[in-house]
């Protein structure tokens, strides 16, 4: 299945900060067919560094989408039955307006003049996309990590538009530990002289800072177990220690590779803005308590966490589930066993697919 990225233009989006961004472009992909009653649409929400290319093979690069093991014919999000949409988030760098986009006022990239955005802003822009596709209600909103935050935001802010929400490996509010790791990443970028206060688009990007930020990120996405399994203490192409600071260990080599690879596909300023949006995410901000936040939600929920995920630990999912249960919301929850840490929702998907498939099936049958 070859897929293409579409773009949609919107006049403006009003942001939580009070600023207005105009105009705005959204990059998105769709898979499957929208049915006549428009009741089979599912919005997939990507994580921090994801993009609109969630499934199929890209017509440009030939590469599979980031959740191709989960979206497609016969898969958890079965594109033979459902119409699946995925868009790049506001502030991103994969086709949707972000700090690397040209500011029409100046003819230059926004850089740090781009307004600070929130998860709520990302979702608000997604509602404009869904409107433009003529869809009133989504059968489901689903995503892991930051995608899960967006799914929760949808269920809370647009209750009448969401039949079911599937937040995976996520939280209702970013914890100090999560903020701390994001801040390390941001500081790494801003400490790189090439960052140049964000003005690097016509010169050299802050590749070293961005690579270090990504290295830290990757550590948090894995688990102690998965790193021991994958790398152990194995040395990289040498029999004994080098007694210098070149690469000794496999794990060092892996992190450096991941870091440098990321530089080629991601914008450092987007890193700053999107991590900031994550850090601001707290459903209790406006509502006072989580119970108040979920009071108006109408969706059926499937909450999933993973046993070895220490970045978004299960207790954060369980907090969501407990609040939903207390207020008699329809909620299913399971912690799936996995050694893959936070990455599990992307790579260890057999059991996750089983529960998503069953949940969607019964939701579609009963409520759509």
């Amino acid at each position: 299945m070859t897929v293409e990225t579409n773009t949609a233009q919107f006049a403006s989006v009003s942001l939580d900060s009070g600023a207005t961004l105009a105009p705005v472009t959204v990059a998105y992909q769709t898979y499957g067919q929208l049915n006549a009653s428009k009741s089979n649409a599912i919005l997939i929400l990507h994580a921090f560094s994801g993009d609109a290319h969630a499934a199929g093979l890209s017509s440009e690069t030939g590469k599979p989408g980031w959740w191709d093991n989960t979206i497609g014919p016969g898969k958890a999000f079965d594109t033979d039955r459902f119409f699946v949409i995925c868009s790049n988030v506001l502030g991103g760098c994969q086709g949707t307006t972000g700090p690397s986009s040209i500011n029409p006022q100046t003819g230059c990239p926004y850089a740090m003049s781009f307004p600070v955005i929130t998860i709520g802003d990302m979702v608000q822009l997604q509602t404009q996309l869904i409107d433009s596709l003529g869809i009133e209600r989504l059968l489901a909103v689903a995503g892991g990590s930051m995608g899960g935050m967006q799914a929760l935001e949808w269920a809370v802010s647009y209750p009448e538009r969401v039949v079911a929400a599937i937040p995976i490996a996520t939280t209702a509010r970013h914890s100090p530990q999560q903020i701390a790791f994001n801040e390390v990443g941001r500081q790494a970028i801003m400490a790189d002289p090439d960052w140049n206060d964000g003005n690097y688009y016509s010169s050299r990007p802050p590749a070293r800072g961005l690579a270090i930020a990504r290295m830290v990120g990757h550590i948090t996405y894995m688990s102690d177990e998965s790193m021991r399994e994958k790398f152990g203490r194995r040395l990289r192409q040498k029999e004994k220690f080098g007694f210098d600071f070149s690469v000794d260990f496999e794990v060092e080599s892996y992190l450096r590779y991941r870091g440098s690879q990321f530089v080629g596909r991601f914008d450092a300023n987007s890193y700053l803005y999107i991590t900031k949006a994550e850090d601001y995410f707290d459903l209790t901000n406006a509502a006072g308590t989580l119970a108040n936040a979920f009071a108006k939600a109408q969706a059926r929920f499937l909450v999933i966490s993973f046993s070895s995920d220490w970045l978004y630990p299960s207790y954060q999912s369980q907090e969501i589930v407990r609040v939903l249960r207390r207020s008699n919301h329809d909620v299913a929850y399971c912690e799936l066993p996995s050694n893959y840490g936070h990455d599990a929702f992307l790579v260890d998907v057999a059991e996750q697919s089983e529960v998503i498939r069953g949940f969607l099936e019964s939701t579609y049958k009963e409520k759509a």
Partner: protein, 211 residues
């Protein structure tokens, strides 16, 4: 009553089976259509899926085994992993029409607290339990002199999930002491419903109670 009719009443096959179980058949009769049901210890969600499909109930389940929760959700049941002894306190009063506890009461740490919570959270409680006063259990203890091992209690004493053993009479007495009302009760031996000497002859008891 003529002897034949009495025998008929005693040995009358009851509602048969739902999903291969007599207690499920009774529960499925007791639950009103389109009601809200919470099943404690819902296993793989078989009963809840059946009730949702056939009686249109709004079904929720709690189960301690992660693997079973997974299969329940895959079956379309809104289940979550949790410990019965803990989760009930989370629900508001009368959040459900029925709270079901099917053959799990004897496995809970605090059965009395569980029953009180069930009748706070649900308008009705349906409790099914294996009767420790069943004659085969008594004979097993009498003749072997060891913790009974029978079809209903197949475990060695040291790896049994059953930590509170109760009989039909024990349950009756507790219900009286707590001031609960028994709306219906059923005593089963195999596929048959019993009326006489249930404490000795019933393998399984099913009670519909309310406050």
């Amino acid at each position: 009553m003529p002897a034949a009719a009495a025998a008929q009443a005693v040995r009358r096959p009851f509602v048969g089976e739902v999903l291969g179980r007599g207690d499920f058949a009774i529960i499925s009769e007791l639950v009103e259509p389109n009601s809200k049901v919470l099943d404690l210890g819902c296993g793989e969600g078989e009963l809840l899926a059946w009730l949702a499909e056939n009686k249109g109930v709004d079904a929720r389940g709690v189960e301690i085994s992660a693997a079973k929760v997974r299969r329940a959700i895959a079956r379309g049941v809104s289940a979550y992993q949790g410990d019965i002894d803990e989760v009930l306190t989370d629900y508001s009063d009368h959040a459900f029409d029925y709270v079901i506890l099917s053959q799990t009461l004897q496995e809970t740490r605090w059965p009395l607290k569980v029953m009180r919570d069930m009748l706070r959270v649900g308008r009705h409680a349906i409790v099914a339990f294996p009767n420790f006063g069943y004659w085969t259990v008594r004979l097993s203890l009498l003749f072997t002199g060891r913790a009974p091992k029978t079809g209903l209690f197949p475990y060695e004493w040291y790896d049994s999930p059953n930590i509170h053993f109760l009989t039909v009479d024990d349950f009756d007495q507790l219900v009286r002491r707590e001031g609960f009302t028994i709306e219906r009760h059923y005593f089963l031996s195999g596929r048959y419903r019993l009326h006489f000497l249930p404490n000795l002859r019933a393998a399984i008891a099913v009670y519909l109670i309310r406050k």
